[in-house]
């Protein structure tokens, strides 16, 4: 009980808990007011005593005291109201954010059915009406590309929504990089046939196992590799290299492309951010945002170095699975 009183008297701690400055803190103001009231009482008593009849002085002091207490009470109450209303505002804002995230998730999910209908409708159209497929090839291709992009964007939006809602599921296991990287390389090489640069996916064969989620890691590689190919200059190679450190394995994906300006570097991991230097219709601006979060969910780190007109290297680390288990990693 006495501990509680002492705790209540610790003004500084109370004010820090409310998260406001000392002069905005009700308890501190109350203390100051108390000092002001008492001093006023004493002063008015002393002054009054010299010049006025004792009884009148007592009455005056009483009125002054009551008056001051009322004022103090009003001011303290005002403070409390302000603090309460701020708290309510912040809770409401959080609730709105949560609803917005849920809405985005549901909306994106709902978009998939019609997008699939278009996809299948197009392929049925091509099959059942081949003459149309030939005469209207250009237009059909435009529709198909638009729809593919839509599906791709919806998939990314759903993933971002899951990341922000904290519902993304990562299963950490000891995985071998070779398989994951080989699959990712194949996928990227397939999809970038005919583009400017190529990938060199050769890495050491004796890499230690790392903690990670193979599906998500494949996604990370695919994203970084396709970026490297997309932004690489004509005739150049994007390359993957690895470094084995004490507790981590670091991967470097380097391109010899246009590089990133200082300004761009600040925004690169943000949602929907696209470099203005690239004119391509693909890409959602969400890839790096997703990649960064996936890596961090796997207890890794991601960073990059870049020089304008020379190229960019994205690097990320994953924890080694062959060293004594570190607290909080995997199972």
């Amino acid at each position: 009980m006495s501990l509680k009183i002492i705790h209540e008297l610790n003004i500084r701690a109370q004010c820090q808990r409310l998260g406001v400055g000392l002069w905005s803190c009700p308890q501190f103001i109350f203390l100051i007011m108390g000092v002001v009231v008492i001093s006023t009482i004493l002063i008015s008593y002393n002054v009054g005593q010299r010049y006025i009849d004792a009884q009148i002085v007592a009455i005056i002091v009483l009125f002054v005291t009551v008056f001051l207490f009322i004022i103090s009470f009003i001011i303290i109450r005002a403070f409390e109201q302000v603090v309460k209303s701020k708290k309510l505002e912040s809770e409401q804002a959080k609730e709105v954010l949560k609803l917005k995230d849920q809405f985005v998730f549901i909306a994106a999910h709902e978009l998939r059915n019609p997008a699939n209908a278009i996809k299948w409708g197009l392929s049925s159209l091509r099959e059942e009406h081949p003459e149309l497929a030939v005469k209207g090839k250009k237009l059909l291709d435009i529709i198909q590309r638009g729809n593919d992009r839509l599906l791709f964007l919806v998939k990314d939006i759903l993933e971002v929504s899951r990341i922000e809602g904290g519902t993304i599921k990562i299963t950490l296991k000891k995985i071998s990089i070779d398989d994951v990287l080989t699959k990712a390389c194949e996928e990227v090489q397939q999809s970038v046939r005919g583009q400017n640069s190529t990938i060199d996916c050769h890495i050491n064969n004796d890499l230690p196992l790392v903690w990670g989620d193979s599906a998500k890691l494949e996604e990370v590689f695919v994203n970084l590799l396709s970026n490297a190919v997309k932004y690489g200059r004509e005739g150049t190679n994007a390359s993957v290299s690895t470094e084995v450190k004490d507790t981590t394995v670091v991967f470097h994906i380097a391109d010899r492309g246009v590089g990133l300006s200082q300004e761009d570097q600040k925004h690169i991991f943000r949602k929907f951010w696209r470099s203005r230097k690239v004119h391509d219709t693909e890409g959602t601006g969400l890839g790096l945002f997703i990649t960064k979060h996936l890596i961090e969910l796997m207890s890794g780190r991601i960073w990059f170095t870049s020089k304008l007109e020379e190229g960019t290297t994205f690097s990320f680390s994953l924890k080694r699975a062959d060293v004594p288990r570190l607290a909080g990693v995997g199972e």
């Binding site: 059915n113 699939n116 209908a117 299948w120 392929s123 099959e127 599921k169 599906a215």
Partner: protein, 124 residues
Amino acid sequence: MNATKKILIVEDNEDLLHMLSNTLRGEGFLVVETKDGLQGFKIAQEEHPDLILLDLDIPGIDGLTFLKKLRGDKKNKDTPVIIFSNSADIENISEAMEQDVFCYLVKSDWELNEVIGKVKEALK
């Protein structure tokens, strides 16, 4: 000559349902359609289809519950089922695979003719 195979499609999106049925009928299959899970289960009990194409996000009872009920039904214990979904949610996939399905297809990853190919495979 094999007797005409009967396929039950449970899918709540009108357009996808229409395209699937049309194409399958074009291939010579007998097709029964429904948009609702409970209705689908009733049909499965009454008509013993040779194959069921099941969308997981359906009204009535959801796809996974439908599947579990189906496997509990004597006559449909072994009916081959192909699962459809909009998402590649790992949890859903593994839960579905536990119930013995022929395969799990994420709609946006498969072309219509590839789906038909899988149907024929499942019916062999």
